[in-house]
Symmetry: C2
Subunit: 281 residues, 2 copies
Amino acid sequence: MLRANTVTIVGAGLIGGSIGLALKQRKLAAHVIGVGRQAASLRQAKQGGAVDQTTTDLAKGVRRADLVVVCTPVDTIAPLVRQVAAACPPRCLITDAGSTKAPLVEQLKADLPSGARFVASHPLAGSEQRGPEHAQADLFQNRVTVVTPTRSTRAQDLNEVTRFWQALGAEVIRMSPEAHDRALARTSHLPHLAAAAIASATPRRYAPLVASGWRDTTRVAAGDPELWRQIMQSNREELLASLEVLQDELAAWHTALEQDDSRKLLQLLAKAKRTRDALGN
Amino acid sequence: MLRANTVTIVGAGLIGGSIGLALKQRKLAAHVIGVGRQAASLRQAKQGGAVDQTTTDLAKGVRRADLVVVCTPVDTIAPLVRQVAAACPPRCLITDAGSTKAPLVEQLKADLPSGARFVASHPLAGSEQRGPEHAQADLFQNRVTVVTPTRSTRAQDLNEVTRFWQALGAEVIRMSPEAHDRALARTSHLPHLAAAAIASATPRRYAPLVASGWRDTTRVAAGDPELWRQIMQSNREELLASLEVLQDELAAWHTALEQDDSRKLLQLLAKAKRTRDALGN
């Protein structure tokens, strides 16, 4: 997609607002419509220039859309996509920005109207912040967006969704919903869980003794609890498997410390550094 | 201490180099001498303006010092403080910048020359980077430095070391070496261990799917393995106790996920967010 006439964003928070800003700034859409439940949030998105028009009426908001992007919490995406599909023009392309994909495509497999053009997406962007006031036009620039086609996805729809994210500056990777969820359990959901556990393991009285290491390691734990509950629960089995891998790692550390094993501790630290250096930047 | 004539920094890396830069920039010392084993590193510290003179001869480097700061890896601090005390003028004040304190003061208790003026310190500053090329004059500005007096520490020595760190911009907190090590196990050493375990739990093939959450959570794991092995091993018992607290936290997460318990997951996430919000910034 390059130059759609009307794009409707359902859920004008950090992600939705950033999509709107990027569309406007790159002149990729003539009209950007923001749909949401909270009038205050919609007003803020409009004032910030992320959307041209707003409405709390979903059917009205998607009636003339060429593209609809659902950017709401994970648990609400499937029902909203159904409502969008029932109310938008037949040619309208629908995607989303949810953090888990397999349960979503599974829920939608059976009951989307035949011919509905839905392809699931996950832009790997965002932060512990929320709301359109934190939206940024370059949020997707040089970041990965995963697009997760299924067997029933049409090539044309997949290509259009791919071009949409690329037009926002993203690098698009295609994977199955299941492969996505397995990988993200390890690269996103497990780090969030662990950051939360480390934060909770810190007594409040130690506040003055917290430095940048603690702050970096626990940063994501400031994220919205209900959003993350939904993400974790919707990827429960993969997250459990990942948690068990972490628990095994920590058991190896425990043994090394208990045995005062210099060689093993150095090995564990060196292995972690190699992975961090290879994957981080 | 404000306006010493000669300050000698033993170990001109990130911390030592930053102390030198701060001393020079704030005009707190007429001469700053860098002592180290690696000529290349010393040259870099001098070129960067962190020290005025350099030497690989410790005795020569401290011979006229009013203050010596030992900024070397944890395991080397006690023997170096002994050597400094044997070679420096009787009035010279000695401190350090090591990440653990109880084993250091224990090692030095018996065998410092009587009258030696040593007070242990730990500036909570630094990063996963190393070397004088990463030194910054404002590294200690508005950061905490913990000073850990013992029963035999003289009030005057404690006050001078306190004023030294304050002169570099630090906020000084005084605690016993044991209380320091107990707290830092939780606020620094455990987060490092956990970050390393999370990094190691990430298969390399997931590199393209790593985003800012993973990078923040694992950042400190890029630190130098041998430095951190020494820190962890010198605080082994407190770190083991902290690790067990984390393992219990993770066991609670495991149960909540296994039982698909929405309420408990939300509780765990909300508790972590409260702590992160209270302690981070």
